[in-house]
Amino acid sequence: MRFVLAGQPNAGKSSIFNSVAGYRSATANFPGSSVTYTVTKALIAGREVEVVDLPGTYSMISSDSVAGEAERYLLDEPYDLIINIVDASRLGRSLELTLQLVELGRPVIIALNMMDEARRRGIMIDHQALAQELGVPVVPTVARLGHGLKQLFREALRHASIGRNPQPPAFDREVEDALAEVAAVIEGLECVPGIPTRFTAGKLLEGDPHVSKRVYGERPELARRVDQVAAQLEEAHGWAADQVVSGSRHAVAHAVEDRVVTHEQPQLGWRERADRLLLNQWTGGPLLVLILGAFFSAVFGIGRRIEAPLVDAFNRLQVAVAAQFPADSLTGTVADGLVTGLAGGVAIVLPYLLPFLVGLAVLEDTGYLPRLAYILDSFMHRIGLHGKSVLPLILGYGCSVPAIMSTRILESEKDRKITAALASFIPCSARTVVIFGLVAAFMGPIWALGIYLLNIVVIVVLGTVMAKRLKGASPGLVLEIPDLSLPDLKTLAAKTWLTLKEFITIAWPLLIASSIVLGVLEWAHAAEPINALLSPLTVWLLGLPAAVGMTLVFGVLRKELTLVMLVQALGTTEISSVLTSQQLLTFTLFVVFYVPCIATIAVLARQVGWRDTTLIAAFTVVVAIVISVAGRMGFALLT
C-alpha cells in the first residue's frame, strides 16, 4: 500500500513525513525547499505502508511543458491514497489545490495541519463541516508537535481500504458546461491513462502546457475544438478561459472556507512586529547586513575557540606517534597520515563546520531566507536575476550540491542556468573551512571578510555577463513570504546532523585515506612528478611551494581536503611557520575559486548538461588563476 503526501509549500508535509520516517527529510521555512520526492516505509497499525513525500506545489498546473515533480507523480505513478496536507491558517488558498486533487478520482484524506497557527490568527475551523463539504475525511493536526498524526495515519489506512472516491464539487454552470463539452471531445482518449476526463478537460481549458502537449501531441486536431469551447467561455465571461476556470475554483474554495470558518480576534505578537522592522524599506537593508554579519562572526568566534585546544591536543598526539614509530619508515608514514587525517577532520574542519551548519539551519527555519529574497530583489535585478535566486545562492554557502538542486524552484530556464553556475562559485562550507582555517586564523577575520566580498563582486560581474549573453525572459519575483517562526530544536538538530553525517561517513574517511595516500606517495617520492607537473602553476604563477601541487589535486574530491593535505604536505599544523601571509592568501583564493568538487560537478551536469559544466569548470580555473595572481600582487602592493 502506498500513500502520497501532497500539499502546498510550507504546509508541513516534511514534518508529517519525518514523523513516520524518522528524520530523513529535512524541513525548511521557505517555499520549494523539497525539490524531489522522498520515499519511506512505515509501520501503521501493524501494516507496512510506503509513504511518499512530494515536493510542495501550489496547484496541479505546470508552468512548463515538463510537469513539476509533484504533478508528474500524481498523474503517472501508482498509489492508493492521497494525504492532502492543508495549511489551516490559509484554508481558502490551500483548498484550491485540494479541489484539484479530488478531481483525480483517487481516495483523498485531508490533514488539516497548523491548527495552532490558525487559532492564533483567530481562524476557527469546523473540521467536520469541512469533511461534509468536500466529501473526504478531515483530521486536524499540528505536525510540528506531533498532534493528531497517529489518528491521521489510522484514518488513512481505513479510508484506503474502503477506497471510496470523492465527488468533486461543482463549479458555476458555464464552466461545468464547458468542461462537459471538452470531456465529450476527448472521451475515450488514452494519452493520460487512469485520469478522469473531467480533470483532463479542465487542464486543457486552463491551457496547462504539460497536459496539452500530451493530448495534442497524439491528436493535434482536437486543439481546434477545445479552443472553440474556450472561446465561448471567454465570450461569456470577458476573461481568458484559464482565468475563468481557475477563478471559478477560487470562488468555490473561498465559498467553502466561508462556510466552515468563524473568525475571532487574532493574536498577533512578535512575528508581526519583527516583520515590520525586517521588511521595512528603511530598516530592512541595515538589519540584513547586521544579521549576516552576526552570523559569520559567530561562526568564526565559536570555531576559533573550539579549534585551538583541539589542534594543540593533536599536535601532542602527533609528536607521541612520531616518537613511537620512526618517521622515515612506511609504518611511521602511515601512522602519521592517519593522525593527520583524524586531526584534519576533528580539529580543523568540524570547529567551523558545526556552528556554520547550525547557523544556516536557524536562518532557514526562522523563515528569514524568503525575506532576504524580498530585500535583495532589486539588487538581483541588476545582475539579471530576481530575488528568488537568492535562495539557492545562500544555500550555496552550506553546500553547492543542494544549492544547485534547489535552482529548480526558479521558473525560467535562463534563471536556473545562471543561478546554478553562480552557486558553484559561492564558497561552500568546505571552502569556508579553508578560508577560516587559513586566512582568518593566521591573517585575521578582516581578510576573510575581504575574500567573501571579493567573491560577491566576482559573482555580480559573472551574473551580469551571463544575463547579457543568455537569451530568454525572466518572469520576475513572485514569492510567498511565510510567517516567521521560532526554530525548533529538534528540527535544527536533525538538519545539522543530516549534513554532518554526510561529512563523517563520506568525507572524513576520504580525508583520512587521502592523507595516508599522500603520506605514502611522499615517502615513496611519487608525489614529486605531479608536483613538478603543476609547478608552473603553483610555483611560477602563484609563488607557492611545489609541495602544494598534490593538495590541489586532492581538493577536487572535496575542498576540505586541500586544508588537511596542506598540513600533511607541509608536515606541520603550524602553517604560518612555513607559508607567508601572501602565500596563504594566494593559496586560499585559488582554492575558493578553482574547479568545484566532484559531487558539485555531477549535480551541475545533471542540471545544465555536460557541455556547460565542462565550460564552467574550465572557466573557474581561469578565474581562480586571475584572482589569486591579482591577490598575490595586490598583497605585495598593500604591505
Binding site: Y58, E96, G247, L279, S378, L477, V478, L479, E480
Partner: protein, 92 residues
Amino acid sequence: MMTLDTVGIRRQARVIMIDGGHRVRSHLNTLGIHIGDWLTVVQRAPFRGPVLVEINGTRVALGRGIANKVQVDMDGVLEPLSGSEERWGTEH
C-alpha cells in the same frame, strides 16, 4: 484604474485585471491572487524593489515588473491595515 506598483503602503486595492501572458496569470492564480480579490500593500522595498501584499491571509512578494502588470482599483478606500497601531491620515 492604476497598477499595483503605484499603490501606497497600507492601502487596499482590488484586482481588476492581470496583464501579461498565461504564465504570469497562472503563477499569480496558483498563489491565490485572482481577479476581484482585495489586497493590502504591506511594504514597498526601496530602489524599485518588490511590493509586499497581503491577500487572503497570505503575504506574497511581487517584483515591480509583475506588480506593474496587475491592474487594480482603489474605489477611494483609505482603510488602515487591520491590527496596525499607526493610523493612515492626519489624526494627530
